[in-house]
C-alpha cells in the first residue's frame, strides 16, 4: 500500500518497482492457486481404472505469466498499488454517449428482430438461434420484474419455467387441447405455483429469500426426476404436440398450412411462425411490464426495492406487493416454458437445472437490473454472442460467472445503468447511474 501512496503523490512518474513487486506477489498467489489444479491433470487410465497424473507445466507457466503481466500492467496504469478505481474504467463521456445511443437502440433492435425471418429465411440455424435468444429475452424480462423491479433475488426462476413446460406437455398430451389454450393455462399454473411458493417465504429477508427460492427450484427438479409415473422421470416427455397456425397444422398435406395458403411446403414455415410467436410473447411481456410499472403496484415494487422498511412505514402491504411481483414473474416464466416445450417437442429435467436460473440471472444482472433494453441486449450478447465462439462451449459458463463478478465490482447497475423515472413532473429527466448508486448506499 505504501508504494501506491507514494506513487500517487509523485504524480505522473511511473512506479515500476512497486508495480513489479505487486505483479510478483500476484504471480506467486497465482502459482499457489494454479499449481495443482492447472499444472496437473487427473486422468483415469483405461486399463487399471486408476487415476494417473499428467503434468502440464507450460499451461501453468503461461497462466502465471498472464497473471504477472496483467497485474503489472494494471499496477502501472493506475500507479496506485492495490486498489482499482471502478469509475475510471468507464469514462463519463462514453457512458453518456451509450445512454444517448440507447434511444435508438430499442427501435433498431425491434426492427432487426421483425426483419430477421426475411433476412435469414434460408438460414435455419440463424432462425433457431433467434428463437433461443428471444426465449431468453422473455425469461430475462420475466425475472426482471422480480429482481429488477421488486428487488427480490429469485434463484429458482427455472422452477416456473419447468412448471410451465411440464404443464403444457401434460395438458396438451392428456387433454388434447390446442397450443393457444394450453399456453395461458400453463402460465396460470406457473403463477399459481409462484403464489403458493411465495406466500410462506416472502416474509424472509433478501438473501434468505434467495436461498429458499434456490431450494424450491431444486425440490421441483428432484420431484420431476423422481415422479416417474407423471413426468417420465429422467427420460422426460417426448412427442409434445407442435403448435398450429390457429388450427391449421404445419404439415405436408392438403390440410396443412402450405396447402391452405397456396405455398410450397417447407419446414421453415413453422420455424418462422415460432419466431414470430416468441417475438410477440416477448413484446407482450415488455408492454405489460412497462404498463405495470406505471400502475400503483409497479411503483410499490420499485419503492420496495429501494427501501422495504420505508415502504412498510408508508402503509404499503409488502407481502401483497412481493407476491404480485412473484406471481407475474412466474406467469411470464411459465409461458416461456410452455413455448420451450412446444418448440422442442421434448422436455426432460436436464433443461431445468440451477445453471439455467443462474444464466437468466446473469442476463438480468448484466443488462442492468430494471432496464428492459439492457436485458434484451444482454440476452443477445450472452446467448447469441456465444454461438459465434462455437468450440469454446465449455468456457461459456466460466465467462458468465466472471462477467457476473466483474459487473458487480465495476458497474453494479449493469451495462445500461441509467434509469428513467416511471412517473415524472413536466419533463422527463434521466437519472445518471452515479446518483442511483448513491441512493443505494
Amino acid at each position: 500500500m505504501t508504494n501506491g501512496a507514494e506513487s500517487a503523490r509523485a504524480g505522473t512518474k511511473l512506479d515500476v518497482a512497486g508495480a513489479l513487486k505487486d505483479a510478483g506477489l500476484a504471480a506467486l498467489v497465482a502459482f499457489g492457486l494454479f499449481s495443482l489444479i492447472l499444472g496437473l491433470r487427473t486422468e483415469q487410465s483405461q486399463i487399471s481404472q486408476q487415476l494417473a497424473l499428467i503434468p502440464r507445466p507450460f499451461l501453468l507457466a503461461a497462466a502465471v505469466a498472464i497473471v504477472f503481466a496483467g497485474r503489472f500492467a494494471v499496477a502501472l496504469w493506475f500507479r496506485r498499488g492495490v486498489d482499482i478505481d471502478p469509475g475510471a474504467l468507464v469514462p463519463a463521456g462514453l457512458a453518456a454517449k451509450l445512454d444517448r445511443l440507447g434511444h435508438y437502440a430499442a427501435p433498431a433492435l425491434l426492427a432487426f428482430a421483425l426483419a430477421t425471418p426475411f433476412l435469414f429465411y434460408s438460414n435455419r440455424y440463424i432462425l433457431d438461434l433467434g428463437i433461443l435468444v428471444l426465449t431468453y429475452v422473455m425469461l430475462g424480462w420475466g425475472l426482471n420484474v422480480v429482481v429488477g423491479l421488486a428487488g427480490l433475488l429469485d434463484l429458482g426462476y427455472v422452477a416456473f419455467y419447468a412448471v410451465g413446460a411440464y404443464s403444457y406437455a401434460l395438458i396438451a398430451q392428456h387433454f388434447g387441447l390446442s397450443f393457444w389454450i394450453c399456453l395461458p393455462l400453463a402460465g396460470i399454473f406457473a403463477a399459481f405455483w409462484g403464489v403458493l411458493l411465495g406466500f410462506p417465504v416472502l416474509r424472509l429477508r433478501g438473501d434468505y429469500l434467495a436461498i429458499v427460492t434456490l431450494a424450491f427450484g431444486e425440490i421441483i427438479r428432484l420431484v420431476i426426476i423422481n415422479w416417474q409415473s407423471l413426468t417420465g422421470g429422467p427420460n422426460g416427455i417426448s412427442g409434445i404436440p407442435r403448435p398450429s397456425f390457429f388450427g391449421i397444422p404445419f404439415s405436408d398435406d392438403e390440410h396443412g398450412f402450405a396447402a391452405a395458403f397456396g405455398l410450397e411446403f417447407t419446414p421453415t414455415h413453422r420455424v418462422v411462425f415460432l419466431f414470430y410467436v416468441i417475438l410477440a410473447l416477448a413484446l407482450l411481456t415488455n408492454f405489460v411490464t412497462l404498463r405495470l410499472r406505471r400502475l400503483p403496484i409497479g411503483r410499490a415494487w420499485e419503492a420496495l426495492r429501494e427501501d422495504e422498511i420505508a415502504c412498510r412505514s408508508l402503509g404499503i402491504n409488502t407481502t401483497h406487493t412481493k407476491l404480485t411481483a412473484f406471481a407475474i414473474g412466474a406467469l411470464i416464466g411459465g409461458i416461456a416454458g410452455s413455448f420451450f416445450a412446444t418448440r422442442q417437442g421434448f422436455i426432460s429435467p436436464e433443461s431445468f437445472v440451477f445453471m439455467e436460473s443462474a444464466l437468466v440471472l446473469a442476463i438480468v444482472v448484466l443488462g442492468g437490473m430494471g432496464s428492459q433494453l439492457g436485458v434484451a441486449i444482454a440476452a443477445l450478447v450472452m446467448i447469441g454472442g456465444f454461438e459465434l465462439f462455437r468450440g469454446f462451449e465449455q468456457f461459456r459458463m466460466l465467462v458468465f460467472g466472471l462477467v457476473m463478478v466483474a459487473i458487480m465490482v465495476w458497474r453494479p447497475r449493469g451495462l445500461v445503468a441509467h434509469r428513467s423515472p416511471s412517473v415524472h413532473l413536466v419533463e422527463r429527466k434521466i437519472i445518471p447511474a452515479a446518483i442511483v448508486e448513491e441512493a443505494r448506499r
Partner: protein, 310 residues
C-alpha cells in the same frame, strides 16, 4: 422390511449420520462465520469445499507419484497442502469478488458470490474434466460394535478418523475464537464492523482471515468427503454447500456450536431419511428442512434474534 425395524439398523444409521454430519458441520462453520461478520451468504463456499477435495486428491496422487507410499504420512501431508492451498483460494475469492463490494447494495455480494461459484465449478470442470474421479479406499478396516442375529453394527476406521478430526478442529477453533487476539477481533467485527474499525481493529485483515480459516476447514471436510465416499466430481460443492448452509441456518446462523449441531442434525436426518423412507428424495428432505426452518425458525436453534436497524 424386517431389517429396518431393528435397533441395530438404527444404531448403524446413527453412526453413519454422525460421520456425515461432521463433514457438513465443518463446511457449515465457514458459512456461519462469514455471515456473522459481514452478513453475506458466501454462496461460493460449497465450491471452495469442492476445490479442497480436488486439491487433496491431486496432492495425494502427486505424493504417490514421487514415491511416498506410507499412507498416514501421506494423508498428513495432503491435509497440510490441501488446507494451505484451499485457504489461498478462500483468500483470493474474498479479495477478488467480495472486498470491492463492501458498501455496495445488499444483493451485490450475493450475486457476485453466485458468479464466483459458477467460476470455480467450471474452472475445475475445464481443468480436470467432467468425469467423476475415483480414489481407492485408503483408510480401511474397522470394529464390530455389536452383533445380533446376524446383523453387525460396524464402526469403520474412516468414521472414527472423521469424527476425531472434526472434534479436534472444533476444539482448536473454539480456542482460537475465545482466547486469541484474532478471535477477539473476529468477535468485535461480528458485533459491529464500523465500531471495531474505529477502535483499531484491522477489519479487512480480520475478514480475510475469516475466509482463510473457513476455507481451510472446508478443505478438511473435502478430504473427509473424498476418503469417505471415494469419488468426487466438480459438482459436489453445490449440493453439499446447500446442505451445509441449511445446517448453519438450522443451528442458528452466526453461532459456531450451532453450525456443528446443525451439521450433525442434517447429517442424521439425511441418513435416516435415506434408510427409512426413500433414498431418491433425500435431497428433497434436506432442502425442505431449509425452507421449513427459514420460515418457522429463522433464528435457528442456538441463534439470536436479529433485529433490523434503520
Amino acid at each position: 422390511m424386517g431389517e429396518r425395524g431393528r435397533v441395530e439398523y438404527f444404531l448403524q444409521q446413527f453412526i453413519n449420520g454422525i460421520a456425515l454430519g461432521s463433514i457438513y458441520g465443518l463446511v457449515a462453520i465457514g458459512y456461519t462465520m462469514v455471515y456473522g461478520i459481514i452478513g453475506m451468504i458466501n454462496f461460493a463456499h460449497g465450491d471452495v469445499f469442492m476445490v479442497g477435495a480436488f486439491l487433496a486428491l491431486i496432492a495425494f496422487l502427486a505424493l504417490v507419484a514421487i514415491g511416498l507410499t506410507a499412507i498416514p504420512l501421506a494423508l498428513f501431508l495432503v491435509l497440510l497442502i490441501a488446507m494451505a492451498l484451499t485457504a489461498l483460494y478462500g483468500w483470493a475469492v474474498e479479495r477478488i469478488a467480495y472486498r470491492p463490494l463492501r458498501g455496495s447494495f445488499r444483493l451485490a455480494p450475493l450475486i457476485s458470490a453466485i458468479g464466483m461459484s459458477i467460476v470455480l465449478q467450471n474452472y475445475i470442470q475445464i481443468t480436470q474434466g467432467a468425469r467423476v474421479k475415483p480414489l481407492p479406499p485408503l483408510v480401511t478396516g474397522g470394529y464390530t460394535l455389536l452383533e445380533h442375529d446376524g446383523f453387525a453394527v460396524q464402526l469403520s476406521n474412516i468414521q472414527i478418523l472423521i469424527v476425531l478430526t472434526t472434534f479436534v478442529l472444533m476444539l482448536a477453533f473454539s480456542w482460537l475464537v475465545a482466547a486469541t487476539r484474532l478471535g477477539r477481533d473476529m468477535r468485535a467485527c461480528e458485533q459491529d464492523l464500523k465500531m471495531a474499525s474505529l477502535l483499531g481493529v484491522d477489519t479487512d485483515r480480520t475478514i480475510s482471515l475469516t475466509f482463510v480459516i473457513g476455507a481451510a476447514l472446508a478443505a478438511v471436510a473435502g478430504i473427509m468427503y473424498l476418503l469417505y465416499y471415494g469419488v468426487i466430481d466438480f459438482f459436489i460443492g453445490f449440493v453439499a454447500g446447500v446442505k451445509a448452509f441449511t445446517a448453519a441456518v438450522l443451528g442458528g446462523i452466526g453461532s459456531l456450536p450451532g453450525a456443528m449441531l446443525g451439521g450433525l442434525l442434517i447429517g442424521m436426518i439425511e441418513t435416516l431419511w435415506s434408510a427409512y423412507f426413500s433414498i431418491e428424495y433425500k435431497d428433497v428432505a434436506a432442502f425442505s428442512i431449509l425452507v421449513l426452518v427459514l420460515i418457522f425458525l429463522p433464528t435457528g436453534i442456538l441463534g439470536r434474534p436479529d433485529v433490523e436497524k434503520v
